[in-house]
């Protein structure tokens, strides 16, 4: 009997192939959408963390309030000791000092006169120490376009765009014009070791990457750092973890109203990320819910229509003497099979395409030229465990539900009435 029903299912493409295709497509898009949005969000957070905010960041309170002005005069003094303490108190995190500053870069001609000039966004990180993870974190090796990585003090990396604008090549010298921590004029020569392109418009416009000790020299910031960033080991931002950390740090260290006292901020607390993340998150939740709902309704409906279309067949089977319950169960059984099959295919395809997008990405750099937020120029999908069920469950249950409801007609109608529909 089961074989008999199965044969019928396979032969009737309206009952097997078409619903499977519908379900697969719906599930595929749900999975893809989920991976896509997760990927973009994750990338955004990750890019922000790596280049700008860390998972947590310690600055003076005054610095935090004026962070967008890159105020080196509000930096923390005694960075060495702070770092040592942090490493001791929170050994699970990687703690790194950074200095961000603005300045003018001046490329001289052979006579030492200004040939070209451009504004630069200086980012001083630990480039030269043995154990530094910053090179990996900023993806410098991959970002390198020309030249080589700095391997001694006095060497810098320039964003490729800025290098082109200044018409300088690796090996040439540029002069930084900025102000010291104490407000006087700073002037310092660097040798360009290489050029880089990050794929983050906010950086590619004019970044200058240098070792932190060089920045300390150039800006008269001995033993000072404007920021100390903390990164967890797995490299993914975890808001709860960051909250616990920041709360404990701030309670222990900050006990007065001194605006130069250090304070720890979470990733969310910086760059307006909180409101943006919340906004995106609620938007995404809404969007995905609506999408799943719509898919659910479509599949439910097709289950319903599939069932109603078969009232004639059901009438005959009843007339021949099949039990109503048996027919109903066989219809549900079929919809489970179809739903499972379609949802599996849809999930597999969705994961497949998501994998491609995760691996190769989708470039949006051209639309992001003027972006000020840290956002990657290539959108990548990210496959999370949610992707395995977010399409599967509604795909399966909407189908079964649709069939269940349409099948209720078997019970609700007089058998003879099913025949009227059959004769029509």
């Amino acid at each position: 009997m089961i074989r008999f029903l199965f044969k019928g299912l396979l032969r009737d493409r309206h009952r097997s192939l078409f619903p499977v295709i519908t379900i697969s497509i719906g599930v595929l898009f749900t999975v893809l959408l989920q991976c896509w949005i997760t990927g973009i969000l994750g990338d955004m957070i990750n890019t922000n963390a790596r280049f700008s905010t860390g998972h947590v960041k310690i600055t003076t309170r005054a610095y935090a309030e004026n962070a967008d002005q890159l105020p080196t005069d509000l930096a923390m003094i005694g960075a060495e000791e702070m770092l040592a303490n942090l490493k001791q108190d929170y050994p699970d995190m990687d703690w790194v000092p950074r200095i961000q500053f603005g300045g003018l870069l001046d490329a001289p001609d052979e006579n030492g006169e200004t040939r070209t000039q451009g504004t630069a966004f200086g980012m001083a990180v630990d480039l030269l120490s043995e154990e530094t993870q910053e090179i990996n974190r900023l993806n410098l090796a991959e970002a390198l376009i020309q030249g080589s990585m700095p391997n001694e003090s006095g060497e810098i990396l320039l964003s490729d765009d800025l290098a082109q604008k200044l018409e300088v090549a690796p090996g040439q010298t540029v002069t930084l014009l900025s102000s010291t921590m104490y407000g006087s004029m700073a002037m310092y020569n660097f040798r360009v070791a290489g050029t880089v392109k990050f794929g983050v418009s906010a950086l590619d416009r004019g970044a200058m990457i240098l070792d932190i000790s060089d920045a300390q020299l150039a800006l008269d910031m001995m033993d000072a750092a404007s920021e100390i960033l903390g990164f967890n080991q797995i490299g993914l931002y975890n808001n709860e973890e960051a909250t616990v950390l920041a709360t404990s740090y701030n309670e222990a260290v900050v006990d007065d109203k001194d605006e130069f006292a250090p304070a720890m901020l979470r990733l969310r607390d910086q760059n307006d990320l909180a409101s943006m993340l919340d906004y995106i998150q609620s938007f995404v939740t809404m969007f995905i819910s609506i999408f799943i709902l719509a898919m659910g309704i479509v599949l439910w409906n097709s289950g319903l229509i599939g069932g109603i279309r078969r009232y004639g067949e059901i009438g005959i089977r009843l007339a021949i003497g099949e039990y109503k319950g048996h027919i109903y169960r066989s219809m549900i059984g079929e919809s489970v099979l179809i739903g499972l099959f379609g949802s599996c295919i849809g999930t597999a395809l969705g994961l497949g395409v998501a994998w491609l997008l995760q691996t190769y990405g989708f470039s949006v750099g051209d639309y992001m030229k003027n972006a000020t937020i840290m956002m990657p120029n290539t959108f990548r999908a990210q496959i999370t465990s949610t992707a395995y069920y977010i399409g599967f469950i509604p795909g399966l249950f909407a189908t079964i539900l649709g069939t269940s409801l349409s099948g209720v007609g078997i019970y609700r109608r007089q058998t003879a009435q099913l025949f009227k529909e059959l004769e029509a």
């Binding site: 008999f4 044969k7 003497g321 099949e322 039990y323 058998t415 003879a416 059959l422 004769e423």
Partner: protein, 234 residues
């Protein structure tokens, strides 16, 4: 089975809800059928033929009165009991053949036996016998849409007869067939009636069918207006 009758109908009334009131489709029917009859319900459209056939077939139930089929009162049967009654004792033949389109002729005829859980060897033999009765053994593997109207109806007859039911209910079986095919079908059924001793009850207003009947029950407005044995044709 009362007095050798396999179908007994007493004071049967069937009303259908129509708008706020009721329409009386069958209005006090008293009838009985014995084993091996070849009878027909005859009457104009709307006289209640199909309604009566449906009640005998336990597809519908009486509003009042009693219809007993094979000793079981149709209106009082559970869904399962009614299904069992149809499964074991009743065969249906419809105007529109109603073969299941996704199955072959063989599979369509096999279906009632699957419900009866007959084993495979016996099943195959029974299906081939039934197809032999109706002369369709060369179309075993065909799908319904590859068959002519006459062939389809012969397939439907094989499906109704394959389990050798006591009662066969045929609602306008010739309505979609030309005269030659109609006669062929009727001769087949006449032969099966004799060979298998099944009771045939037709609902029809087709003169070709009426010619073959041994008992003609005339209905009008839900009432039996005449019930006569017709002289045996030779």
């Amino acid at each position: 089975m009362n007095n050798g009758h396999i179908i007994n109908i007493e004071g049967l009334i069937k009303r259908f809800p129509v708008g706020s009131g009721f329409f009386t489709a069958l209005d006090g029917i008293d009838l009985s059928f014995g084993k091996g009859e070849f009878a027909g319900l005859v009457g104009p459209s709307g006289s209640g033929k199909t309604t009566l056939l449906n009640i005998i077939g336990s597809l519908d139930s009486p509003s009042e009165g009693k219809a007993t089929v094979m000793g079981q009162s149709v209106g009082e049967l559970s869904h399962k009991k009614a299904a069992d009654l149809r499964n074991h004792n009743l065969g249906f033949i419809f105007q529109t053949y109603n073969l299941l389109p996704v199955y072959t002729v063989f599979e369509n005829v096999e279906f009632p036996l699957l419900l009866l859980k007959m084993d495979k060897v016996k099943r195959k033999k029974a299906v081939m016998d039934a197809l032999d009765w109706v002369g369709l053994t060369d179309k075993v593997k065909s799908r319904p849409k590859q068959l002519s109207g006459g062939e389809s109806q012969r397939g439907a007859i094989a499906r109704a007869m394959v389990k050798r039911p006591q009662i066969v209910l045929a609602d306008e079986p010739t309505a979609n067939l030309d005269s030659e095919n109609s006669h062929h079908i009727l001769q087949t059924m006449e032969k099966l009636n004799q060979d298998l001793e099944a009771t045939f009850i037709f609902a029809t207003h087709d003169d070709k069918v009426i010619q073959y009947l041994k008992r003609k029950i005339s209905l009008a407005d839900g009432k039996v207006i005449n019930d006569e044995l017709t002289p045996n044709r030779t």
